[in-house]
C-alpha cells in the first residue's frame, strides 16, 4: 500500500515519517515510534487508554489517523516528564494509589493534565465529568479523583516555585 510523508513534533522532537494513510495515530506512536506507553483498550473510542495531547488537547489516538497529525504537536505519556523527574501528576497517581493494573493510567494522566491546564483547581464533580471518557476497571475511580486533586495542588505549588525562581 502506498505511503504518505508526514511531519510531526512528538514529545518535543521533530519527526518525518512515511505512513500508510489508513494507519491510526495510536499504531504510529506505538509501532513506528516505539512509544508503547499509549495503550489500546477498545475499538470504539470509549475507553480512553489511548489518550494523548494533540496541540495541547486531549485526543483519543485510536480515532485519529497518523496523517491527520501532520504538522501537529503530539505529547504522549513519555513526553510529560523531564529526564528522570516525574511530573507532579505522575507523582500524585503513584502516591495516592491512582492505579492498580496500570493499563488505563497513561490516558488518565493525559486527560487530567488537559483538564488541569484549563482549570487549575477543579472540583471533584468537574474531575469525574472530565474523566468520563476514560475507563478504569480496577479502582472504582475514587483514588484517581483523589490523585488528580492532589496533582492539581502539586502543580500549583510547582508553578509558584518556578515563578519565584524567575522573579529572583
Amino acid at each position: 500500500m502506498s505511503t504518505t510523508k508526514i511531519k510531526t513534533r512528538i514529545n518535543g522532537k521533530q519527526i518525518e515519517s512515511e505512513v500508510e494513510p489508513r494507519k491510526l495515530l495510536v499504531h504510529f506512536l506505538r509501532e513506528d515510534l516505539g512509544l508503547t506507553g499509549t495503550h489500546i483498550g477498545c475499538d470504539t473510542s470509549n475507553c480512553g487508554a489511548c489518550t494523548v495531547l494533540v496541540d495541547g488537547k486531549a485526543i483519543k489516538s485510536c480515532t485519529m489517523l497518523a496523517v491527520q497529525a501532520d504538522g501537529k504537536e503530539v505529547t504522549s505519556i513519555e513526553g510529560i516528564s523531564k529526564d528522570d523527574e516525574l511530573h507532579p501528576l505522575q507523582k500524585a497517581f503513584l502516591e495516592k494509589h491512582g492505579l492498580q493494573c496500570g493499563y488505563c493510567t497513561s490516558g488518565m494522566i493525559l486527560t487530567s493534565l488537559w483538564l488541569l491546564r484549563k482549570n487549575k483547581n477543579p472540583t471533584e464533580e468537574e474531575i469525574r465529568k472530565s474523566l468520563s471518557g476514560n475507563l478504569c476497571r480496577c479502582t472504582g475511580y475514587q483514588r484517581i479523583v483523589e490523585s488528580v486533586m492532589y496533582g492539581a495542588q502539586l502543580m500549583i505549588e510547582k508553578e509558584a516555585e518556578e515563578h519565584e525562581m524567575v522573579m529572583r
Binding site: 470509549n46 497517581f93 496500570g102 474523566l131 476497571r137 475511580y141
Partner: protein, 684 residues
Amino acid sequence: MNMSTVRWEDSDLAYDSSNFVRGKGHFVDDIKLQGMLFMTVLRSPYARARILSLKGGMNSQDLGAKMASVGEGADPGAGISIEPVFATGFVNYVGEPVAAVFAEDRYKSTDLLESVEVDYEPLKPVVTMDDALAFGPIHEGMKNNILVEATKGDDFSDPKSPIVLEDTLENERVSTNPIEPRGIVASYADGILNVWISTQSVHSIKEGLVESLNLNPDNVRVMQADTGGAFGSKGGLYPEYVMASYASMKYRKPVKWIETRREHLTSTNPGRGVRSRVKIFAERSGKITGMKGDVLIDAGAYGSGIASFSAQFVAMMMTGPYSIEKAFVTGRSLLTNKVPQGPYRGAGRPEASFFIERMVDLLADEVNKDPADVRLLNTSDKPFNSPLGMKIDAARPFFESAIKELEYRKEAKMTKGVGVSFFVLVPAVYPGESARIMVRDGRIRVWLGGNSHGQGHEDFVKKLVNEELNVPGDLVTLYRGDTGMTKVGVGSWGSRSAIVAGAAVVSVCRKLKKDVEDDNGTYSYELLLAGSYDEFINEEKRMTLNSFGANLASVEVGKFGTVRVKKCLAYYDVGRALNKEMVIGQIQGGMAQGIGQTLHEGLFYNEDGQLITSSISDAGVPLAEDLPNFGVKIAENRSALPHGAKGVGESPTIGVPTALIRAIEKASGLRLRKTPVTAEDLMQ
C-alpha cells in the same frame, strides 16, 4: 543475536507500579520481535451453523486439537461438548474461532481475513436457558442440553410452614472487561516454545498448551507480561493461545495475537448468567426453617471449567451465612449457542448470595420486620455446618458489629431507599500455592505460582519477607510469573493470593532462616544477604476460611427510572490487612463492579444469538461520573494462618449488588428480581 526472544532487563521483569505512571510498563502488546507475525482470527458470524466448506487460513484441517480445561474451577466437563481450538463441522456461537491468518502487521493480517472462504448453513440456535430446556441438544451425540447436573443437601418434603415464599431470581451475563484485552506472543526457537502472556496464571497456560498440543512440558516456558486487569477472564486457556503457539512452531516465527474489544465481548468467557427458582419456609418470627433451590447456569456452547463446575458451586453456597437447618438445591449447567461462560469476580459466590439475600428481604417484608433483624435472627453465635456442605463460623457477632459500623439503624430511619446485605466469602484456598526465593548479590528475588494483575502482590511479599527475615523492603523484588522459575503453581483468583501465596512466602522465608542458621549457627539478615540461597516450596493448603462482610446502600430513584447512589458502604473482615491501602483500593474497585452489575452491566443477545451489547460502553462498564465515593471500613480478625490473612478481592461483588438492589426496591416500591435493574424496569 537471537531475536526470537524478548530482551527485558532484570528490572523490567519486576512488578513495579512506578513504570505505569511513566508509560514504561511491559504489556504483551508492547513486545516486538524480529520477523514477528500478527495473527487475526476469523470468527463465526452465526450462533449456530453447519460448516459446508472452509478454505484458506489455518483451520481445523491444520489443527484438530481440543481445548484443555485448566485454571479456576477446572473441570473437564462432558467429552462431546469440549471446545475445539478451531470450529470443526459446526459453529456454536457468534465469535467462535473458525480460522486464523498471519501477516507481518495487524493491518495486513486483517486484510487477509478476506482470503478465507467459508460456506455456512445456518441452523436455529438455542439462545436462552428456556430454549436449552425446551429444544434438542446443540451437540450431536448428546441427549439434551444439560451439561452437568448436581444436587446439594438431602431432599425433603415441603413442611407445613406458616410462611412459604417462592421466587425466580436472575443475574444476566456480565463481561469481565479488563481495560487491557487478552493477548499473547509465542516464539519457538531451539526446540523451546516461549510464551509471553497477559494472565492470572502462567502455570494454567503452560499446562493447557502442553495438553492441547501434546507437548513435552520441559520444552514450554510461559512468562507473564504486565497484566492489565483480568477479573477472572485471564485465568485459563483460550483457543487463540493454542493457535498462536502452534503457528509459531509451524512457521518458526514469533506470533502475536492481541484481542480487540469486540472480540473480548463476543469471545472471552463472560461471567454470571445464572437463574434460580428459590423457595423458603419460615416461621412468623422470620426464622427460616428450610430452603429449596433450582439453579440454572447458562454455560454457553461448550462445557469445561467454571461453566460446568458452577452448577454444584452455586448450589453449595445457597444458604449463605445463615443457619438454615434444611436445604436441598439442584444445579444444572445448560448448553446454549453463546460464548462459553467463565469466572467473573466472585465466580458463583455473588450469584448464590443474590438468591438468598433477595429471599431474606422478601421474607422481611412478609413478616413486616426490619431486614437486618431477620438476618440477625437467622444467624448463629456458634459455628454452623450447612446442609449444603458449607462450614460457617459464628456469624452473628460479625453482623451485629456491622449494623453498628455501617450505622444502618440511623440510615434506615432517615432514608426510604436503603438496603443492607450480609454474606460469607469462602476463598479458594485449595490446593495452595508455590513460592521461590533466591538470595544473590545482597538482594532477595521472589517468584509466586499465582500472578498479580493489579492487586499489588509485591507489597505483601515485601512486608512478609521483612517480617520473617528482617530484610528491608527495598532489597526485595517480586518478579512476574514465569514457569521457568517456579516448577509448579496455581494462580491468582478466588480471593486467594494473600492467603496461599502469603503462606508459601512465609514458609520459604522460614526455610531460608534455617539454612542461614545451619550455615552460621545464628541468623541475621546480613548473614542471609551475604550468602547465596535458593528455596522453593509448593505449599498445599486445604483449610476452609470465612471472610464475613456486610454492605449498606442508599439510593434515590428519579422520575424516569434513574438511580442515584447516595451511599455505598462496606464493612468487611479481611483478616490481617497486609497492606491497608491496597486492601481498601481493591474493595473500592470491586464496589464499582458491584454497582456496575446492578445498574449498568449486562450482555444481551437477540433471538438469533447475536450480541447486541457489542461495545465496552454498551456492555455497561461504569464511568467516573456514574459512581459515588465509597465508604470502606475493615475488621481485622486474623485467620489461623501464621500471617493472619483472609480473602477480600471478591467481597464487594458479592455484597454490593444485594444491598443496592434492596435499596432500589425500597425506593421504588417494586419487587426486583434480576440484575441489571434498568430504567425501564423502574418505570413500570
